[in-house]
């Protein structure tokens, strides 16, 4: 009996010593590198954009910086257009994507999401003089300017709209203003930011979604340590009031619901 216990003890001890020597987890790699690489657009105000000094700012950007800080590393942002952003995870160009990535079943099948860090309501934006479109259902057969792989793009398709592909929010807005598209669906928050910049633009919100969609930090599957660390960081950020601060700064309200 004693002998078996002794052998077991040695076996366990060996395992315990061996574990750290086995393949490094993603979290450990990041800690070693001292940087969390974050993929983001840089052209989607007020979430990720460049201010007049050229610095990268925005709600998502600051959340990203806070997460990195809690992880004890620097935040390193890699910018790119929306439609190629998630593919960058597969190519390991960065560790996570923080860019208002909506949590949906399709994406969850291929990637992991953190806990939601923001709730957004989809808004249907049309020209001020448009009386034809008064609800999402009215999109049937109309032209909607959207990026191809976004949640909003899919939503527009589901309502039967003909999608006019663009590369970002500002282009979609421009098409609606120019009459080249009848409407665009996007986050109500981005529309409000647009309003601040262009108070005279002749656009209006025709309808808003009742239920909110949630966005999370996107990462590749198979990184449980990293996922846990990010969720812990997010929880901390919400608890210690940092989240409210950032939220007020950009939206003047709490956007976690």
């Amino acid at each position: 009996m004693k002998r078996i216990n002794f052998l077991l003890a040695i076996g366990l001890a060996q395992l315990a010593l061996a574990a750290p020597v086995l393949a490094q987890s993603a979290l450990e790699q990041i800690e070693e590198a001292g940087a969390l690489r974050i993929g983001t657009e840089g052209t989607y105000a007020p979430f990720t954009y460049h201010d007049s000094t050229g610095a990268l700012v925005g709600f998502d950007v600051e959340i990203g910086r806070e997460i990195a800080e809690r992880l004890g590393v620097e935040a390193e942002f890699v910018e790119g257009p929306w439609d190629g952003l998630i593919a960058g995870i597969d190519a390991n160009r960065y560790d996570v994507v923080i860019n208002q990535v909506g949590i949906n079943p399709e994406r969850q099948a291929k990637y992991d999401f953190s806990e939601p860090y923001i709730a957004s309501k989809a808004a249907l934006v049309v020209r001020e003089d448009n009386e034809d479109i008064q609800s999402f259902e009215d999109l049937e057969g109309k032209r909607a300017a959207q990026t191809l792989t976004s949640n909003y793009g899919k939503m527009a398709q589901e309502y039967g709209a003909e999608v006019v592909p663009t590369e970002g929010f500002d282009q979609s807005i421009a098409l609606v203003l120019q009459g080249r598209a009848d409407a665009t669906i996007n986050d109500s928050l981005s529309f409000y930011d647009f309003r601040k910049q262009q108070p005279d633009a002749e656009l209006k919100i025709a309808a808003t979604q009742a239920d909110a969609d949630f966005s999370g930090v996107l990462l590749a599957k198979g990184k449980p340590d990293l996922l846990q660390a990010i969720n812990e960081a997010l929880a901390e950020i919400k608890e210690d009031g940092t989240y409210s601060e950032i939220s007020e700064k950009y939206f003047g309200e709490d956007v976690s619901q």
């Binding site: 105000a45 460049h50 007049s52 910018e79 597969d90 160009r93 647009f194």
Partner: protein
């Protein structure tokens, strides 16, 4: 000051910075490397044995027959599927280099062939080797003839670097896109970006003209060889 002017002035520093940091280095690097590739390719097609020449012929055919934008996307977004992940700037340099290489190889090939065969014979007749003849006799003549078409390739390249925006290189055009994204003033910003490209390419055209003038002082080789 009218608002459009103040927006232009405000945006100018970040646009010029992007131009200086990315557009110009991208152009210079890709052109220098591309010329090297083009020169080797031209020599292979003119002088190397058939199998090698065929490979080069294939490369030139592919890169002249497909759009530059598609080539860039292939290198940046496509290669990761077979395990090759390149950063944006190197991917752009590779794409532009291969493209410039293909086009310039055709120019160089034509220019080398246009030097009369008699010049080779004259060089050989005074005892030069192939490489001496190339270096001392053929290239100086071919070089002068090649200046106009290659300058055009260079100036086109400056403008083509705007395509690098599509594979996330933060050069001039993308910098403009970034500013439009927050100001929603596409007309003002894109006019400004276009003006910067215009200034750069005009300066280069001017320099090209001066270079051609300087090189023509000794007269055309055609008259001497007739």
């Amino acid at each position: 000051m009218p608002p459009w002017l103040s927006l232009m002035l405000e945006s100018l520093p970040s646009l010029l910075w992007a131009c200086l940091l990315f557009t110009i280095p991208l152009t210079l690097l890709s052109f220098a490397l591309g010329l090297g590739v083009g020169f080797v390719a031209a020599l292979v097609r003119l002088f190397a044995p058939a199998p090698l020449a065929l490979i080069v012929h294939f490369y030139v055919w592919v890169f002249r027959g497909t759009p530059l934008l598609v080539q860039l996307f292939l290198i940046f977004y496509g290669l990761p599927s077979v395990g090759i992940v390149l950063d944006a700037f190197p991917a752009a340099v590779i794409g532009f280099t291969l493209n410039v290489g293909a086009y310039s190889s055709e120019i160089i090939r034509a220019v080398l062939s246009s030097v009369p065969k008699g010049q080779w014979e004259a060089a050989y007749s005074i005892g030069m080797t192939w490489s001496q003849a190339m270096r001392r006799t053929i290239l100086p003549q071919a070089g002068r003839i090649a200046v106009p078409p290659l300058s055009n390739t260079f100036i086109s390249l400056v403008k083509d670097t705007s395509l690098a925006a599509a594979i996330t290189v933060p050069e001039l055009f993308r910098a403009g896109q970034r500013i439009v994204a927050t100001t929603y003033e596409p007309l003002i910003l894109y006019v400004e970006v276009a003006l910067i490209y215009l200034v750069v390419s005009s300066v280069l055209s001017g320099l090209q003209g001066r270079l051609e003038k300087r090189l023509s002082r000794y007269g055309g080789y055609l008259e001497a060889a007739s």
